[in-house]
Structure formats: C-alpha cells, structure tokens
C-alpha cells in the first residue's frame, strides 16, 4: 500500500468509520470539515509515527503539515526524504 492509501484507510476507518472512499476528499481540511478534533490530531500523529517509522517534532505539529490527506502525504514524504538524506 502506498502512503496515500495507508493514510486514507486510517482516516476512513478511524474517523469516518467507513470504507466508502467517496466520503473523503484528499484536500479537505480535517478541522474545517469537522472530521477531526483536538484529540484526533494526536491520534493521527501517533499513527504516522508508527506506520512510517518517523518522529513528528513538536514544531511540526501544524495545520500545514497535518490538516488534510494531501498535506499528510507530502509531510510524510518530506520526512522520509530527510531521513534518507541523513542516513
């Protein structure tokens, strides 16, 4: 499963409680659409840390990195590229 697919599955399953792909747009703001609230964002952070074996730093917990499927995918890719470059 690619990054996007994994993230979509997780959001659909845990926040929308469905496997109906059509209810989740990749550019929809989680907060703006009321899909996810404060404790939900923390759960998403835990999920991407575990699934993609990376560490989300405090200063990275921002809507620009986390507030939609597209943003999450881009963020995970940037983190993975940075880790690959450092390795």
């Amino acid at each position: 499963m690619n990054i996007e697919k994994k993230i979509r599955c997780y959001i659909l399953e845990n926040f929308l409680f469905t496997d109906d792909e059509s209810v989740l747009n990749n550019d929809a703001s989680f907060l703006g659409a009321g899909l996810i609230d404060s404790t939900g964002i923390l759960e998403i952070i835990l999920f991407i840390e575990e699934t993609f074996d990376l560490k989300v730093f405090d200063e990275e917990m921002l809507p620009d990195n986390l507030d939609s499927v597209d943003k999450l995918v881009a963020f995970v890719k940037r983190k993975q590229a940075a880790m690959a470059a450092a390795a």
């Binding site: 926040f15 929308l16 409680f17 469905t18 009321g34 609230d37 404790t39 405090d58 917990m61 921002l62």
Partner: protein, 522 residues
C-alpha cells in the same frame, strides 16, 4: 448612554461607548474593536427585525468559534431575540432537533457548515437562513455580508425586560434528547458580575479561550471580557497545540480557561518540551474535576497565576469556586458558593444534612435558569420549592460533603451522565444512536476512567440473532448522529448483557462484570 446593564446586550453597548477603539476580540481570522463588534451586532439586529424576528423569538447560531459567532450572539439579543448557540461539531439530525424543539425562527450559519445545516433546514421551509459569507450559497440562504451593508449601525429600540429570555443553552441530560436550559437577561447578568468579581477581571486583561461559545464556560469567557472591557483571544481548537501556545505568548494573554483534558495534554507536552507562560494572571478549571496531581504541573506552566478550581452546571452557569490560596491546601475541594449565592446540602426530603455528611447540592441565587424549554415535568424535578414563598432552589444531580469551614467536596453524580473531555455525554443519547442499527438488540453505554479524557465513552452491545454488525459500523452510526466527543472510544459486542433481579439492564452491573474487557480492547 446606558449606565447600568439591564439587558445582556447592554454590556456591549456600554463598553463600545466607553472604549470604542479597544480590541474586543482576536480570532484566527480577525482582530475587531468594540466599535466593530457593536456595529456588526446592531446591523444584524436590524436585518433580523426586517425578516420578522420579534421579541422572544429564538435564533440558532451555528458557527465555528470565531468573531462572527461572538458578535452574532449580541445581534440576536439586540433584535429582541433569544440566542441558541449550537456546537459546530453537531450533526444534521441533532441540529434539526434543536431547530424544531426551540421553535427557531432563524438560523445564522456559515458556508463551511452547509453540509450539515442544509439537510436540517430542508425540513423547515419557514426558517430564515442567513449565512456569514460564502460564494456559492444554497438556494434560499441569504448572504449576511451583502445584507448587513445596508443596515444602520445603531441599536434598534428595545422592548424586552430583564425577566425575558436571553438564551436557550442546549445540554445533554439523562433523557435521549438534549434539553434547552432557559436563561433570562437577569440570570446571566447576575452570574456574570459574580464571576467577574471573584476572578477580578479588568480592562487590562486579555482572556484566552479554546472553549466553544455554545458551552456556558466558553460563552462566559466572551461575556466576562465584554463586561470588563477586556480582550478575548479566541481559538477554534486545541488540535495544534504549538500554534495555540505561540498565540498565547504572542498575544500576551493574562487569563486561561480550560478543562482537565486540555491540562492533561499540556502537561504531557511540557514533559517533552517544557512550557512556561509567565504573563498569565488567572488560570481556571471547570466542567470536570481537576485531578489533584495536575496542580504542581499547572503551577510550573503558569508560575505567576492564581489557579481557580470551579464547579457549575448549565442550569446556573457557575455554582462554586475555591479560593486560589487554598489550591494546594484543599486540592480536592471546589470551594464555596460564588458571590451573592448560597449552596445547601440537603437530603432527598429537602432537610439539611449534618456537617460532614453527604447531601444533594442545592443552589440558591438569582442565577438559576427559568427551567427547561417546553419541559415542565423535567423542570419541576430540578427547580424545587425554596426558602421563601415563590422561590425555587436548583437541585443538582451531584452529591457533595462539606468540611468544617464550609468548603465542598464532590462525592458522586446522582445520575449516569458521562463527563468526557469536560463535555457532558448522555448515555441514552449514545444508546439511541446505536439503536438506529436494526441489527442491535441491546446497548448499554457507560463511562470508564481515562487518563486524558476523564472518562471514555464505552458501549456494550448485543446483536439480534444472525445479525452481523462490526464495532466500526456501530461507531460510524454514532459518528453520523453525534458530536465527535460522544462517539464511543470502545465498542464491545457481547453475546449477552447482565440484568438485575428485576430483569432490567443495569449500566452499573455491566461495568462491574465486563469493565475488565475494556482494558483488553484498548
């Protein structure tokens, strides 16, 4: 100029006249002065009047926590109406219930929530719907921005008096549907002055709030700021803590209001990345009891602040607060009655209990609600005959005991309401959502202790013969009907639920027998 506020909206008119240029509110999208808030509210009031809103009409405000929501509350009041703020996480069915139950004449909303309000208003053809901004509004919905420009920025003539209703505050109760708590201008003005007296707010203060305006504790952050001529810094959520912390520091806030779940999240954050807010003067907790073990950590976060532990309920907004000097001395107490009110511990028959004994908390004062909207029987259960002829006391659902100095200690709730993240969750309301699935035979919803949430919502479910439903589908049914905080964190499907000797389902019994399963589900 008005000198003494007799109606709730007067507090805005007074402050706007005294300090027109002072910053009233900072939200994620705007910084507005008192003049701007008052002008907006006056224009909105004229627009509502022009659409037939009259004294006593209910107007539902369904908006995210921003300046327009805060200003709309005053616009409704200036029109002579009764504001009914609804949490922006609310789903279409429940919004439709509140619109119908309150007999709302108008809905003030915003485009981002059209997905939710559109199905609700389709069933209500007579409802006026006004939307703050937006390019593509659904048919029949008017754009507030376009309407308000032509309205005069002066208050319309007022005919309401202090005894009239100012707000219906919907709150989850022990029944399956939320109840509208009726507050008058007088009850809200009274409790506002009492709160501002003990918190000692002044016009120099900058209050910070992440609490929703539909919730008494959140609403009063805004009302306290307006009454004191101070500034409210309003956040939409705590989802991005770092952003929230930066805002608190950048804005030099002096007061922070929150609930135990948020303090737990801040302390967890502080353990990894130390935090400190030296500009804070006042820190408050309400909505759920603050665990005593949080207090040393909160002191480190806010080294200069007085810490107020408070207790209240929607039916009177606030009942008690603990003198901040006693925060460490009596860490389990919520203190005593707020200024100008009285708290009594009585038994089931209304007699005073002996000192040290457990009693039902009764609240006496001018801050009590008038009752539950259209529910005289429910009202009679909680507004009981008082000390003087014609007077009532509020019988709370909570058991307390009192120490020798008169400070109160919470013992237990008298009902089965769950407190999760500081929000009230009615087990019946969650069970009703679960019963919407025809495969469900029985459902019992309970609260289980949770280190961050206070209590986590947990559902035990049995299914009809041969029926197939997964825990996820049950959560989904709840997610479609209920606010996020009401959706069960745990769903356990069991072959059978235990019953009492009388054959009834008992939430207590289920928790005793199956509580241990939750740890495994986590």
């Amino acid at each position: 100029m008005i000198a003494v506020p007799r109606l709730l909206q007067d507090i805005l008119l007074i402050t706007a006249a005294r300090r027109p240029q002072h910053l009233a509110l900072v939200s994620t999208d705007a910084r507005v002065s008192y003049r701007e808030v008052a002008d907006y509210a006056c224009r909105l009031a004229h627009a509502l009047r022009a659409r037939g809103i009259q004294r006593g009409d209910r107007v539902v405000v369904f908006m995210d926590n921003g300046w327009q929501c805060a200003a709309a509350i005053f616009g409704v009041l200036l029109a002579g109406g009764v504001f009914v703020t609804v949490n922006c996480q609310t789903k279409a069915r429940k919004l439709a219930f509140i619109l119908r139950d309150s007999g709302a004449r108008a809905l003030l909303a915003e485009p981002a929530l059209a997905r939710v309000f559109q199905p609700a208003v389709e069933q209500l053809p007579d409802l006026t719907v006004l939307c703050a901004g937006g390019e593509e509004l659904p048919a029949g919905v008017e754009d507030l921005a376009a309407i308000l420009a032509d309205q005069p920025a002066v208050p319309p003539a007022q005919s309401a008096i202090g005894l009239d209703l100012a707000a219906l505050v919907y709150t989850s109760g022990t029944t399956g549907h939320p109840k509208g708590v009726m507050h008058t201008h007088q009850s809200l003005l009274f409790v506002l002055d009492s709160i501002n007296q003990y918190l000692e707010f002044s016009q120099e203060d900058r209050l910070f709030s992440i609490l929703p305006l539909n919730f008494g504790y959140g609403l009063f952050q805004w009302l306290s700021a307006v009454r004191a001529g101070a500034t409210l810094v309003l956040e939409r959520s705590f989802a991005y803590p770092v952003q929230v912390f930066k805002r608190m520091q950048d804005e030099g806030v002096t007061s922070f209001a929150s609930v135990p779940t948020i303090y737990a999240m801040m302390l967890a954050h502080d353990a990894k990345y130390p935090l400190c807010f030296p500009s804070l003067r006042v820190v408050t907790n309400a909505a759920a009891a603050l665990p005593a073990e949080f207090i040393p950590g909160i002191r480190r976060l806010f080294p200069q602040a007085r810490l107020y532990k408070m207790y209240g309920q929607t039916e009177c907004i606030r009942s008690a607060y603990l003198d901040p000097a006693l925060a460490e001395i009596k860490p389990d107490s919520v203190g005593r009655a707020i200024p100008g009110t009285e708290l009594l511990l009585l038994d089931e028959r209304g007699r005073s209990v002996a000192p040290g004994e457990v009693g039902i908390l009764h609240v006496r004062g001018p801050h009590l609600m008038r009752g539950y909207w259209n529910q005289p029987e429910k009202t009679a259960e909680v507004l009981v005959p008082g000390l003087l002829a014609g007077e009532v006391l509020l019988k709370s659902g909570d058991l307390f005991r009192q120490d020798a100095e008169g400070d109160l200690y919470f013992v237990a709730r008298n009902d089965e309401i769950i407190k999760s993240r500081g929000e009230k969750v009615s087990p019946d309301e969650v069970e009703n959502a679960i019963y919407s699935l025809s495969a469900v035979r029985e459902a019992a919803v309970v609260g289980v202790p949770d280190p961050v949430l206070g209590e986590a919502v947990c559902a035990f479910v049995t299914l009809r013969d041969d029926a197939q439903v997964t825990a996820q589908q049950i959560k989904r049914a709840c997610g479609e009907r209920l606010e996020n905080y009401m959706v069960p964190k745990y769903v356990l499907i069991l072959p059978e639920l235990p019953r009492t000797l009388n054959g009834k389902l008992s939430r207590k019994l289920i928790l005793q027998q199956y509580g241990a399963l939750i740890a495994k589900a986590a």
